[in-house]
Amino acid sequence: MSAVLEMSLETTRAEYQAAEKRFARRIVICAGTGCMANGALKVYRALHEQSQAQGLSLEIELDYEDAQRKEGLLTKSGCQGFCQMGPLLSIEPDGILYCGVKAADVPEIIETTLKHDQPVERLLYRVPATGQVCKGHHDIPFYARQERTVLKACGSLDPEELREYIATGGYFAARKAFTTMTDEDVCREILDAGLRGRGGGGFPTGRKWELTRIQPKGKKYVVCNGDEGDPGAFMDRSVMEGNPHAVLEGMMICAKAIGADEGYVYVRAEYPLAVARVRKAVKDAEAAGILGDHIFGSDQSFRVHVMEGAGAFVCGEETALLASIEGKRGMPMPKPPFPAQSGLNGKPTVINNVETLASVPLILSKGAAWYRSMGTEKSPGTKTFALTGHVANTGLIEVPFGATLRKIVFDIGGGVTRKGGAIDNQAFKAVQIGGPSGGCLTEEHLDLPMDFDSLTSIGAMVGSGGLVVMNQETCMVQVAKFFMQFTQNESCGKCVPCREGTKQMLALLDDITEGRATEETLPLLEQLARNVKIGSLCGLGKTAPNPVLSTLKHFRAEYEAHVHRKVCPSRVCKSLMTPEIDAELCKGCTLCAKKCPVGAIHGERKIAHTIDGFACVRCGACVEVCKFNAISGI
């Protein structure tokens, strides 16, 4: 049994590589959710049909039997990260990356690139700040400044093709674990690598495994937490969509380490593509004999179920997630007991985040020392971030721990944008890191090497890895309110501080942004935030006040302006605005009065107009339409 499978990994790899060599080109269309939404599949079909029609042998299937030389292999990949520029199409070995490709571009791509080996210049990436044209991954700053390890395969592998995963070394690490290592060895290797949980907490993964391993033998579970729910975060989704086998392989290695025979992938139901891809991966791995009984000839079995979440953010909390798998209401339980002792169905359970598990095969194949060569001492390895907000290049990125915010925002992100999209690095205000559980980083943190501990020390956290860049036009109270609204909606309602505290914090923030705040509001908000933080049962509540506390810490003056002067310095909070028309500047052109949707502007033609402050809904339409800059206060 063992020999057969050992053969089959090597054979699969050799066969695949031999078959692949017969293709002159490899064309990869990004089939991540973002690119698919922008029509990537239309491009894929057009490219295939039109090249076939023109007699070009651009194949979409890798046929081992067909020994003829072919023009190219057309495949789909998972998310390549540069979602903003999608649909993305890369052509190797030309080293070309086309951005924003439409089906209409296909004839030109066939003619220019496939037939005449020239790039279609208008489809290449242009650096917004300099206008420099970049040919491909190697010279696009967004990619060149990253260190893609976990995400590496996401951009090139066909996620639905098990053979290709094996051809790139997939499942070799799992085989190594099952055939040459003891459970203790596996735990030690992960511990030595210093891998820490990517779900936000940063708990050492090796220690978690070891704690589960030492539990008495018997039923144990591996659970993959794919219930990514932070607004704006999509790292786990990309990995599950782009490289589902890596997640399964990580789970298998964990199963070996702790002695589990059953696993669950808990994916949020809002990720249909991830669900489908993971399900297919499980099915293919079972069919190939990789998952099932006698894994790699051992006497261990391992089966994986894929379960869709029910749409609650709190189910990302491990005990709530387990309750949800058990069919109960997704509410957290107090810890201890930890899942390592009593988890799913009361059995010892390891719960790891998607990205954590996807890192595991890399560590086992390349070694702990290799892993430690990236990142910082306490936080080795790389971390994926979802970069969004007022930044030129948004998308999914991966950098080693210890990278600075400056590098991420200005180099990879291409700089800060103002309203309208113009790049202006002076407009940088803050970055919200870690979503609703994290905090904000400001100018003073631009050169802070980011890792688990440095971020925690300044009241922020890596969290699951959302990075929202904000420019000067952003009101920080509104930012805090946005996240508070989110956590209070998503609180499960079990413990008092989180259920009632987040509701009252939101009400206090409403008071501040709507001009009802008193001298008592800020101290009360701070006191409440402190108590929600220390008093809540689970991580959701314990971290919910972070956005408020950190904006209060770094932008207190902005809060005070709202409270004491009833002014929003960023001019975002509409209730605090008093629109006025400067009689000196107004020419009485009546444009604003015509534009006003509620008829709040009055005045005779050629005579200065006035705004009825009670009727005004502060939409700002008048400001936009006024040619004389006569309207202020909105």
């Binding site: 499960c492 309602g493 008092v496 259920r499 009632e500 009252q504 009400a507 006191q527």
Partner: protein
């Protein structure tokens, strides 16, 4: 050395004993840490966050979820935890309708007392409060979600102790609420009205439905004669409402109070409890002698009866047909007293004072009315009586001791001990001994505090296996054992409430375990003071049989003192007939096509089974039906063949079972949900 097995709490050394958590150790050290969601008999929930303490090296932890460890250094009063507690109370006060003066729970509300104790004198929060509709559907209970603090005690009690689980959390965050399924009312679900949810509720979110005003209206109506019966358990607890201990004189004070309130006659339900024993013991002996259905379950507890009607309809023949003491009293009183007093039945109002909320439901059962006139008109709980006494300004502790009216004030100790779990059984034992002319044997086990007691009553004709359970989850467990043949018990006493009726939800609110033990003891003390302890010694009952009822279990006794039960199953799984009627007797086959089974492919299975039966020319043998929910949704598709239930059915498993049935391998079984034949 100093802390071999001890910890330090606020600087003082405390030895760790058998305590399951840090909270219990702290409470042992005479520090009453506040809690809403901790209840020693329920699973630990950890949601109210009031019991947080500071443990050196660990920071803030909830004491209820922390295992006590030697050497721990605990601070219960650090600035941080004090602030946290106060803020939690302030947050809860801002969370709903917490207007104390108009709340029925005022005075016994934990939120109110904690606000006072912790000095929360101002609520600084003002987020809008969403008002939710109240649930008035139950005859026994009133739910006001606007007062709920979501501690979940009711949810866990209903599920863990009663095994019913009609309450659960719905919605999330600040919209969370506790509710029966689909937002239904309590009367529309399988609630058995035991009221333990109200008993554990620390606030006024679940309350006993008050009938005080109806009682006043009857008393004040000159055309009505209002008599009252007082249940045995009331005398063990009412003093608590007036902060005085209960003793052997408490009943006398209750009598005086009731007379002063304007009741025309005051009687004792212990009288009809004695009568119950005559009937029930006779029924048991007859069943045993005549090979009738055994085990015999007691029927005094209306919650238990209702649960059996919902969950174990096939068990109903095992339940004693005796009415409960409350209903026997009502029936006898309305049969006899109108004639003796020269009034019409309609003008006699029977009021009960009960420790129990389910008695309100029981009094409203159709079986217990004659021409629409109920045997018991109004049921008041101990709580409501205390409220009436307070309302009238009666100084209960100072009231003189009065004596009960005749004839239904006469009782023996056997009738009084009905209040305790095990009391009915002990009374039966006394009766049996009396019949045999022996001194009644004292079986210690029957008086134990355990929620399940199994023992053997020795008799000259051999031992009788008896079980006593309280808490309906325990009863369910025993029923399952009986149904699966693991238990061959012959007599079972079931009481829904912890400790029996003394722990009823109509009793004064208590949050202390010791209260229950004190009440149990009061009942035993009262028993001791009685001259007679055997039901046979009740001369009024003997006279009643002689003049009115004839023999125990005789026709007249049956008419007045017995009843019948009916299944409350939502669906009786009659099904839609799909096979042709040929006049031949066929083996019934039902395939469930309810939602859960449908999702598991039962529709396809049904089609395949029909085709198979046709192809195999078995249409003469089997009567195929499609039925709705057989209530085992977690293990569908469910198929029932000749009464045998098969779970997780596939075409192959059904084929095999049909073949077996065709050969006569599946003898007909009465359809039942807990089919004891476990076919995989």
């Amino acid at each position: 050395m100093t802390h071999e097995n001890a910890m330090t709490i606020d600087g003082f050394r405390v030895v760790i004993g058998e305590e399951r958590n840090l909270l219990e150790v702290i409470r042992k050290a005479h520090i009453e840490l506040p809690t809403f969601c901790y209840h020693s008999e329920l699973s630990v929930y950890g949601a109210c966050r009031l019991c947080m303490v500071e443990v050196e090296g660990r920071g803030l932890v909830t004491a209820c979820t922390t295992k006590p460890e030697a050497g721990m250094k605990v601070k219960t009063q650090s600035a941080e935890v004090r602030e946290l507690r106060k803020m939690n109370i302030e947050l809860l006060l801002a969370s709903g309708d917490h207007d104390c003066p108009t709340c029925a729970k005022s005075g016994s509300c934990k939120l109110q007392s904690l606000a006072e104790r912790l000095g929360v004198t101002r609520v600084r929060f003002n987020a809008p409060v969403e008002m939710r509709p109240m649930d008035f559907t139950s005859p026994s209970l009133l739910r006001d979600p606007n007062k709920c603090v979501l501690c979940g005690d009711c949810v866990r009690f209903c599920d863990e102790i009663q095994g019913i689980g009609v309450l659960e959390f719905t919605h999330r965050g600040s919209h969370s609420t506790v509710s029966p399924a689909f937002g239904k009312g309590l009367a529309e679900v399988d609630c058995v009205a035991c009221g333990q949810c109200a008993a554990v509720c620390p606030v006024g979110a679940i309350l006993v439905k008050s009938e005080v005003e109806r009682a006043y209206a009857a008393i004040q109506d000159p055309t009505k004669t209002v008599i009252v019966q007082v249940a045995p358990a009331v005398r063990s607890s009412i003093g608590e409402a007036f902060r005085i201990p209960n003793d052997t004189f408490t009943m006398g004070r209750i009598v005086t109070a009731l007379r002063r309130l304007g009741f025309d006659k005051v009687f004792d339900t212990s009288f009809s409890a004695d009568l119950t024993i005559w009937e029930e013991a006779t029924e048991f002996v007859n069943r045993k002698k005549q090979g009738g259905t055994l085990p015999l379950f007691t029927s005094c507890c209306p919650s238990w009866v209702k649960m059996a009607e919902h969950d174990f309809p096939d068990l109903l023949p095992n339940i004693s047909t005796c009415r409960s003491p409350q209903q026997m009293f009502g029936s006898v009183a309305k049969e006899i007293l109108p004639g003796e007093m020269g009034i019409k039945r309609e003008d006699l109002v029977v009021v009960s004072i009960m420790p129990c909320t389910a008695k309100k439901f029981e009094a409203g059962r159709q079986e217990f009315a004659t021409n629409g006139n109920p045997d018991v008109d109004i049921v008041l709980t101990t709580q409501e009586l205390a409220r009436m006494i307070q309302d009238a300004g009666l100084q209960f502790p100072e009231l003189p001791v009065g004596s009960l009216d005749q004839p239904f004030g006469v009782k023996t100790g056997a009738g009084v001990i009905f209040a305790n779990s095990g009391g009915v059984t002990e009374a039966v034992i006394r009766f049996a001994a009396g019949e045999l002319g022996e001194n009644h044997p004292v079986i210690e086990e029957v008086r134990s505090e355990k929620n399940r007691r199994d023992f053997v009553l020795p008799t000259p004709e051999g031992g009788i296996k008896m079980s006593v359970v309280h808490g309906l989850a325990k009863a369910k467990e025993l029923v399952r054992e009986i149904q699966s043949g693991q238990s061959d018990v012959e007599f079972v006493e079931v009481m829904a409430c912890p400790g029996g009726c003394i722990g009823g939800a109509g009793q004064p609110v208590t949050h202390s375990q010791q209260t229950r033990q004190r009440r149990t003891q009061v009942i035993r003390d009262v028993d001791v003071t009685h001259d007679a302890h055997c039901p046979q010694e009740n001369h009024v009952i003997k006279e009643l049989y002689r003049e009115r009822l004839g023999e125990p279990n005789g026709p007249e006794a049956h008419r007045l003192l017995h009843t019948h039960f009916h299944s409350r199953r939502r669906i009786e799984a009659e099904g839609i007939q799909l096979s042709e009627f040929t006049g031949e007797a066929k083996i019934p086959v039902s395939v469930c096509i309810g939602t859960a089974c449908h999702l598991r492919g039962s529709q396809d299975l049904l089609k395949a089974v029909l085709k198979h039966v046709e192809d195999a020319e078995l249409t003469e043998r089997f009567d195929i039906r499609a039925t709705f929910c057989m209530e085992s949704c977690d293990s569908g598709p469910t198929v029932r063949i000749n009464g045998h239930v098969f779970h997780r059915s596939t075409l192959d498993s059904v084929k095999a079972a049909l073949a077996l049935a065709d050969e006569g391998g599946l003898p007909a079984l009465e359809a039942c949900d807990g089919c004891t034949c476990t076919h995989a």
